[in-house]
């Protein structure tokens, strides 16, 4: 034949599944050497899913190297895998039974490769978990079970492998069923079956074993075919994280399309849609698609796009929801369960990036509530850090509010990952949202956005006309610095450049709009809220607004961010020493005003708020 392929993934095998049947993704996990690869090799061989000549080729190679043939070798597609004898990644293997096609994600068992196991498991709808009958339940068996639960995998079959090594003894099998079954129960997983098997002999894999006559349950193949494809959650409230708002005007296309993948629920033309965390509302005008007849509804699981009746300014990171369905949570404080994969432990006071849906925010660990010991599921003593491969419960503080759901309500919009140093280092689910200092302000802002009367002039049109992006430039510093001089000079300069710009000192607000409230510390929140509301109006008018105030804190900024589009705010600290906890976008060292103005201008150009002359 001469047609030797380097592929472990065979082309479609002879037995054809019924047309239109969905492929199911399965992950196979287990402690290292518990025999996963052998089980997969068997499944491939016994369902005739191997490429022609592959089995013979591997057998011949074994003979050549005077090595006994093992079914596991069928999977060793990569050279260094064979060198090390362990699977280094979650490999994909395709096969078919008579009822449907499968993709098996082979996840490595070694603890070092937990991130690969998670990668494989997160793509799966069901799991096979392999336990060595002779070795019994290992710490990793528990860790894997717990991970399945966190990752949201509800369908699981446990394969008690290498039954040949324990003389097909039912008592050994029953012991593992008791011990591991009790553990799974604790983490909320009810396995569909415990199956005694021998991967090496093919017992109870595709064919019922003669050695295990005492066993009455399904074979592995039967257990696989009994898993159900989980339907996309159309029965839950509508959630669509906004991936982008597209406008291809240059291509002669005037549609403004809000695009995203529907995580749950259904949306129809004419529906009232509310975006969170902003709370802005509109109505669905049309559902758009390419090379497909126009639809009037779209369901969970679909990557879609729709246009809006009333034009509102929204961006990636918002979540589209429907009125009157239950609204998502909006907050900056989350109680979460998370797993950590980073070599450096997760610690307090360090800045991380949290990604949930399409939102991306800075996050800090406010408190580590408990770290769980995966081997016993017990809670360890108070810890100041979350170590690699730990599972923990913690409170995270975000630097601006996001929209999310609780894991028990809508799983997909409760899931987040943590990025550190360019890499995903952890993941988790939201268990509870906690109040933050801006809760009262946020409620007012949500109502304001809900009641907002949108203009027929779109923000993009204003930006085009004024040749600038609306922005709030907060210039602060200790009381000694002359931030007002910089602010006024900047206003003058931008005005001369033809920009629509305005300067407001905090005093102008304090004695006017705030005349009815006393100037004392407990009213600071309300002062900030009012300042932010004024700013919001001027920004909506398309302006660049420059505000000066002494010693703004991060708390102040977070209040302002609640009422003003957060990515429209630039914070500038005038002076050599930053004396508050404010996260600063630009620092101006003490010096001449014209230089400071140039520096700010250059910063605004970098941020695309004003444009550099060509």
């Amino acid at each position: 034949m001469g047609q030797i392929s380097t592929s472990i993934a065979p082309p479609e095998p002879r037995v054809s599944a019924p047309v239109g049947v969905q492929r199911m993704n399965i992950v196979i996990v287990g402690h290292v050497d518990h025999g996963k690869s052998t089980v997969i090799g068997r499944l491939l061989a016994d369902t005739h899913s191997l490429p022609e000549g592959k089995l013979e080729q591997v057998r011949a190679q074994c003979e050549l190297n005077s090595r006994p043939f093992e079914y596991a070798f069928l999977l060793d597609a990569l050279k260094d895998e064979q060198a090390q004898g362990i699977t280094i990644d979650a490999a994909r293997v395709f096969f078919k039974t008579e009822s449907r096609p499968y993709l098996i994600l082979d996840a490595p068992g070694h603890i070092e490769f937990l991130k690969n196991m998670i990668t494989g498991a997160a793509r799966a709808e069901a799991a096979l978990l392999v336990i060595d009958a002779a070795e019994g339940v290992q710490e990793n068996s528990r860790r894997h079970g717990y991970m399945m639960s966190l990752l949201g995998i509800r369908q699981l079959a446990v394969l008690v492998n290498k039954m040949d090594l324990v003389s097909w003894d039912q008592a050994v099998f029953d012991g593992i069923v008791r011990e591991y079954g009790a553990f799974l129960d604790q983490v909320g997983i009810r396995p569909s079956a415990f199956i005694p098997v021998s991967g090496r002999g093919g017992d109870n894999i595709a064919d019922r074993s003669q050695h295990l006559a005492w066993y009455r349950g399904p074979t592995v193949l039967e257990a696989l075919d009994a898993f159900r494809s989980e339907p996309a959650p159309t029965d839950r409230p509508f959630r669509m994280p906004v991936q982008d708002v597209y406008k291809f005007t240059k291509q002669g296309d005037d549609r403004r399309i809000v695009a995203g993948t529907i995580e749950s629920g259904t949306v129809r033309v004419g529906d009232h849609v509310i975006f969170y965390p902003s709370g802005k509302k509109s109505r669905v005008k049309s559902i758009e698609a390419f090379n497909r007849p126009a639809a009037t509804r779209a369901d969970a699981g679909h990557a879609v796009g729709f246009t809006l009746q009333e034009q509102i300014y929204i961006t990636r990171g918002e979540v589209a929801t429907l009125e009157p369905e239950p609204r998502p949570q909006v907050t900056t404080r989350l109680r979460v369960s998370l797993f950590w994969l980073g070599k450096q432990p997760m610690v307090k006071r360090k800045e991380y990036m949290l990604k949930l849906g399409t939102a991306r925010v800075t996050a800090r660990v406010e408190e580590i509530l408990r770290v769980m010991d995966a081997s016993t599921l017990g809670t360890t003593e108070q810890r100041s850090a979350i170590q690699r491969h730990d599972v923990a419960e913690a409170v995270l503080k975000l630097d601006r509010a996001i929209a999310c759901d609780l894991a028990e309500d809508i799983a997909s919009t409760s899931r987040f990952v943590i990025v550190d140093d360019f890499e995903i280092r952890g993941g988790g689910i939201v268990r509870e949202t906690l109040p933050d200092r801006q809760t009262s302000v946020r409620d007012q802002v949500l109502l304001r956005n809900y009641k907002w009367e949108p203009s027929t002039v779109q923000p993009e049109r204003r930006a085009e006309k004024y040749n600038q992006k609306a922005a709030l430039i907060l210039i602060t510093g200790d009381s000694e610095t002359d931030r007002k001089a910089v602010a006024k000079a900047l206003e003058g300069k931008l005005f001369e450049d033809g920009k629509v710009v305005y300067f407001v000192g905090i005093g102008s607000v304090l004695y006017g709009i705030d005349a009815d409230i006393e100037r004392k510390p407990e009213n600071r929140l309300e002062h900030m809220r009012r300042l932010a509301e004024v700013a919001n109006l001027m920004l909506d008018a398309g302006m660049i607004l420059i505000v000066t105030a002494a010693e703004l804190t991060q708390d102040d900024l977070e209040v302002i961010k609640t009422a003003v589009q957060p990515d429209w705010i630039e914070t500038i600290w005038a002076g050599d020493d930053i004396t508050t906890d404010l996260a600063v976008d630009l620092q101006l060292p003490t010096g001449a005003v014209p230089e400071a103005v140039d520096q700010v201008k250059s910063h605004l150009q970098d941020k695309g708020i004003i444009f550099r002359p060509w």
Binding site: S16, T119, G301, M353
Partner: protein, 299 residues
């Protein structure tokens, strides 16, 4: 009955790929898409039109080894004009001018793939070598003034093609030398991808990772996607199953004249159990030839 209940396997694959394309577009300023003219990257191009509602806001990059079957280039330029694509090609001019290629008899197949494909790709992506961009008004390729490096590159690789591709991520990092560290890849779960990257590194993005060869043809049929005619038997009992350079790619014996016949052939016929790239000579040269190439930056 809900639409969700009727989502078949092609719908699932399509929606996932569209999601990934949109994530790539939202996260990378300098994003490009490799278009080999083959069926996979043409399906990818079609999926981009789905993702962006008929538009393709991502430049397409073709690595022209100068040994491609001529019909492939004609087809490329025809679609580029018809679909209003930003079309860029790059090639290894030094090697071609110095006749340091396999067809010239100077080097072996693997070294030739490295020079004309991998090296050309790396230097075209980095902007170090000239890029040629299609001027739609004049219908000619001109040297592109933009020499910024691409930081995200969308590639039509499928996991079922051969062993090394089955270990890829949807978003797969490459270091400054385009090397792929197979043993230490980032985790990827819950539709969250590695979209952050250190300066000098870039990401390969694989929206078709979960598709099989059969899925590709089923989708071509469903969407009526135009494909290059080399894939079909035109009466001589031969067709190409996988397209590459003419000196290293052989047609297979097949009577399949239409997409339907190809699908039938893949499902039940003579190719049901034979790997797709069996007509590609470089895969067999030495042990694990393609993985060695891929670690070094091959697509």
């Amino acid at each position: 009955m809900t639409a969700a209940a009727t989502m078949d396997h092609l719908d699932q694959l399509e929606n996932r790929s569209v999601h990934i394309l949109r994530e790539a577009y939202a996260n990378f300023k300098n994003l490009g898409m490799l278009w080999s003219i083959g069926k996979d990257s043409t399906v990818l191009l079609w999926l981009a039109r789905k993702a962006f509602f008929g538009h393709v806001p991502i430049p397409l990059i073709h690595i022209d080894t100068a040994f491609k079957i001529p019909e492939m280039i004609e087809y490329r330029d025809r679609l580029a004009l018809e679909w209003n694509l930003t079309m860029i090609y790059g090639q290894n001019r030094q090697a071609l001018d110095a006749k340091q290629t396999y067809p010239d008899g100077a080097i072996d197949r693997i070294a030739c793939c490295k020079a004309l494909k991998t090296d050309a790709l790396k230097h075209t992506l980095s902007g170090e070598w000239p890029r040629y961009r299609l001027n739609h008004a004049k219908r000619v390729y001109e040297v592109d003034r933009n020499t910024e490096a691409f930081t995200g590159v969308i590639v039509g690789a499928r996991a079922d093609e051969e062993g090394s591709r089955s270990k890829e991520r949807y978003f797969s990092p490459r270091n400054a030398q385009s090397h792929w560290d197979v043993g230490d890849q980032p985790p990827e779960f819950w539709n969250q991808f590695k979209t952050e990257f250190a300066p000098g590194t870039h990401l390969r993005i694989h929206p078709l990772l979960d598709w099989t060869e059969l899925n590709i043809w089923e989708y071509i049929k469903r969407e009526n996607i135009p494909t290059v005619s080399l894939y079909y038997n035109k009466g001589d009992g031969k067709r190409y199953r996988s397209l590459g350079c003419w000196p290293c790619t052989q047609p297979v014996e097949s009577d399949a004249r239409t997409v339907d016949e190809i699908i039938l052939e893949l499902q039940t016929g003579k190719f049901a159990n034979i790997a797709e790239r069996s007509g590609r000579a470089q895969d067999k040269a030495g042990g694990g030839g393609l993985e060695v190439l891929r670690r070094d930056g091959y697509m």
